[in-house]
Symmetry: C2
Subunit: 209 residues, 2 copies
Amino acid sequence: MALLMDHQFTELRADGQVDTKSFLESVSYLPPFFDCLGSKVFAPIKADIAGNVTKIKAVYDTDPARYETLQQILEVEKEVHPKEWPKVGATLALMWLKRGLRFIQIMLQSLVDGEKDDKNPNLIRVNATKAYETALKRYHGWLVQNLFKAALYAAPYKTDFLKALSKGQEVKEEDCLQQIQQFLVNFTAAVDAIYTMFNTMNAELDYTV
Amino acid sequence: MALLMDHQFTELRADGQVDTKSFLESVSYLPPFFDCLGSKVFAPIKADIAGNVTKIKAVYDTDPARYETLQQILEVEKEVHPKEWPKVGATLALMWLKRGLRFIQIMLQSLVDGEKDDKNPNLIRVNATKAYETALKRYHGWLVQNLFKAALYAAPYKTDFLKALSKGQEVKEEDCLQQIQQFLVNFTAAVDAIYTMFNTMNAELDYTV
Ligand SMILES: CCCCCCCCCCCCC/C=C/[C@@H](O)[C@H](CO[C@@H]1O[C@H](CO)[C@H](O)[C@H](OS(=O)(=O)O)[C@H]1O)NC(=O)CCCCCCCCCCC
Ligand SMILES: CCCCCCCCCCCCC/C=C/[C@@H](O)[C@H](CO[C@@H]1O[C@H](CO)[C@H](O)[C@H](OS(=O)(=O)O)[C@H]1O)NC(=O)CCCCCCCCCCC
């Protein structure tokens, strides 16, 4: 579990906000998650997510004190770009990034919960499909939905996926799942907090790509 | 036709070889071709082709005199990497690049030839499918073939595609097609020469991705 456990998300701040610096730090280790899927088909997705992170980091780096929490980024951008906001800057990047994070969270949670296709217990398609339907499908037009369906067939076997997540260590499947469960605690809290913030600030959009 | 006509391929050298420098120059203007398709779905393809060009250019730049023609690149790499060759370096990049070039060539030629779906004369799917089947399909596994089928639905209407190719100029469809035909002369000769070279040097591979 080198991959996930070495870079756990930190707890939320006492005021319930997400600290930008530690969020960016943790999230920068997620794109390699897609290499665990074992196919170059996922490279464009990895690139899209990495692009979101880069965009948020670029804004943060211009003034770390001003952007101490993610919410401060949204507030400043709302102020600076009243017309375009929220379809602009780091706000837009985070809007999409959180969907990818939700995808990852739901897929891992579903694996931990033992959800499986009884006829093909070693496939993770059912877990990926659940994650996709919850996190992304409604933001994708017919075309991208079809691409997703096709791409799903490139998903690895569950055993290979868990092995890849445990990079460089021999770990029993049980232990691996337990470590994922541990990882999910702070990760889920962070993702939930970001979703809540987008709702509270009325920053969510539902256009499709 | 700004896009294509401003950067025509040069004629082959007298000895029938392809001059590396002018080839790289002309081919570097092709990735924007994919922007004319009007959808971000084609971004990964554009990136793959641009990656091939970058790889070949990097080799060329190490010693322009030594790599004056594309054939010299293959010859040197064959010598330097006897075991891995031809699945290595600029040879591999050119092996794939030529397939993308063949795709473009056949698709444009098919448009010039007036091949169309009589029921949907303004769609270019029939031209793209012909190009795909000739140039790429056999090198793609079932999965990527399915992605192609899905991606095809993102292809623009013929009128929009031709307009995009004529960027910034009002050109009649006839004139546009005539300019494409003109562009195809040296372009086709260069692509043919590269295919011949791969055959002659026994450098072609038919693994699938
Ligand atoms: C010859 C063969 C031809 C084949 C061609 C096929 C081409 C395939 C194209 C692949 C599309 C890749 C997915 C990327 C989709 C993206 O379009 C969307 C929206 O992307 C957002 O768009 C915004 C503007 O509207 C900004 O640019 C954002 O950028 S900004 O930072 O600039 O603001 C950007 O992230 N992101 C998404 O939908 C996010 C996707 C996350 C996915 C999460 C996991 C899914 C895992 C699946 C596992 C089974
Ligand atoms: C949530 C939604 C999820 C959706 C996810 C979808 C993901 C889609 C993935 C898209 C795949 C993009 C196409 C790229 C395919 C590439 O895999 C292949 C082989 O690529 C080669 O591989 C070599 C190693 O074997 C070297 O790395 C080469 O690199 S090297 O330079 O390092 O040596 C590299 O070019 N190139 C190809 O097949 C070439 C493709 C050319 C295409 C030409 C035009 C087609 C136009 C179609 C118009 C209708």
